[in-house]
């Protein structure tokens, strides 16, 4: 781990992409920024432009209209980049599993680094997922131990 890698994990800037979610997960993500959970403690910030982002938070069942947009947004992210899937819909399409409009789950399109389940996941769960992501990137060997 060089100093730049350490700095990378200590200041993850987050871009939030909703792919047809019911807004519950989005509200929980915004909760992470509130005084009670305060995600800025870990150096994380919500940014408005994908060019500034390190982490792509994806919520919602990935629907047909969204698929080309998700790919374009992902391509515009500068390397190194991480993808976090939040909520049951992004993980496995949830209630829309058999819908004509949701052909594939998210991880068939993008390389997902962390899955955070829940409908919606609590802010604690989101923070815990992100902290696990950071720990795993710091020492990838621990993956086997768990």
């Amino acid at each position: 781990m060089g100093i730049l890698d350490t700095a990378f994990l200590k200041s993850l800037w987050v871009f939030h992409l909703s792919t047809g979610s019911c807004n519950n997960c989005d509200i929980e993500i915004l909760d992470c920024l509130t005084p009670r959970y305060d995600i800025e403690r870990f150096g994380m910030q919500l940014v408005g432009s994908i060019k500034h982002a390190d982490v792509l938070l994806v919520t919602g069942s990935v629907n047909r209209k969204c698929i080309p947009r998700i790919k374009r947004v992902y391509e515009q992210m500068p390397e190194p980049r991480l993808v976090v899937a939040i909520g049951e819909c992004a993980l496995s399409r949830g209630a829309f599993m058999h819908s004509y409009n949701c052909p594939v789950p998210l991880d068939h399109l993008l390389p997902v680094d962390v899955y955070i389940p829940g409908c919606p996941p609590k802010p604690e769960a989101i923070i815990s997922g992100l902290v696990k992501l950071i720990e795993q990137k710091q020492s990838p060997v621990d993956e086997v131990k768990e």
Binding site: A7, F8, E40, G48, S49, K51, E79
Partner: protein, 307 residues
């Protein structure tokens, strides 16, 4: 040769370190205002280092040279200003006639570099932000120069920063007089505009135009812009301390006063930015060309009256 040393050690390194620290003070205070914990001490440094590692993307159709050179111009502008200020602060005899004019000119270079970069991005939101920045400059520049004129009058119409410092060493800080206090108030308001912070953050307005001028910048170029903004957070309060409060003196109790003055100014910036809503372009123009300019003219007249 000694000036190159000044430029690297004081103008760039020291200014960058203090600027990063000031940016931490700003973020931590903001967090405490909102009953949050706030980021750790090294967070601004981590942000810059992280951006160095990121890939730099150049948008399709953007003029490459302008896009790449704009942040460099801004960084050089800030470094030159801070070098002139440090040389003055350390040895007031050493400087040349008219360095105040040079400082005023070069203080505008960061804003110009942001405009240049914004228009070169080829993004509609960035162009919108750049044109807003242009209007902001038109707004604050007039009262800012009038406020500086007050300090010039107090120093017997000398446009050398060294003379302004020596006049203050003889007669006490300019900020203590009526005209000086008024000019200080105006300069602080204009500083908020120059830093493009709330209530004057229309060029970057995150919630409406998503970082505006910086929207297409990534990686090293974004790091340069961030560093430039952090250095401005030191250079502008330092300029105000030099022309209204007698400069930073590095000896015993005076050093403590200097640090208190500086941290106080940063805290004032943070308080203003956390207790105000964002203004529209027309409101900003009315505000700067109306009450602020009138107050600045009153300050100049007061200074002339007591001269």
């Amino acid at each position: 040769m000694i000036y190159i040393l000044y430029m690297f050690v004081f103008g760039f390194l020291l200014t960058a370190v203090i600027g990063l620290f000031a940016s931490w003070i700003d973020r931590k205070l903001t967090a405490r205002f909102q009953y949050r914990q706030g980021p750790p001490l090294l967070q601004p440094l981590y942000d810059i280092l992280k951006l160095l590692k990121k890939e730099t993307l150049i948008p399709f159709g953007a003029p490459k040279l302008t896009f790449l050179a704009a942040p460099l111009f801004g960084l050089i502008g800030v470094t030159v200003v801070s070098t002139v200020l440090w040389v003055n602060n350390i040895n007031p005899q050493r400087t040349f006639m008219g360095d105040l004019i040079v400082v005023i000119y070069f203080l505008m270079v960061p804003s110009l570099s942001i405009i240049l970069g914004g228009f070169a991005s080829g993004n509609p939101l960035a162009s919108l932000g750049a044109s807003r920045e242009l209007k902001l400059i038109l707004g604050y520049e007039l009262p800012f120069i009038l406020a500086i004129l007050v300090a010039v009058i107090h120093a017997d119409f000398s446009i050398r920063l060294g003379d302004i410092l020596e006049a203050q060493a003889r007669n006490g800080a300019i900020a203590v007089s009526w005209s000086g206090g008024l000019a200080l108030l105006i300069a602080v308001i204009c500083m908020q505009g120059k830093l493009a912070l709330v209530p004057f953050d229309i060029p970057e307005a995150e919630t409406e135009i998503a970082h505006g001028v910086l929207i297409e910048y990534s990686g090293v170029l974004l790091a340069m812009y961030k560093l430039m903004k952090n250095m401005l957070l030191f250079v502008l309060p330092f300029f105000i301390i030099i022309i209204y409060m007698g400069g930073l003196r590095v000896s015993g109790l005076h050093l403590l006063y200097g640090i208190l003055e500086y941290v106080g100014l940063v805290a004032v910036i943070t308080v203003i930015r956390n207790t105000n809503p964002r203004l529209r372009v027309d409101q900003i123009m009315k505000f700067f060309w109306g009450p602020v300019t009138i107050l600045a003219i009153v300050a100049v007249l007061l200074a002339l009256g007591s001269y």
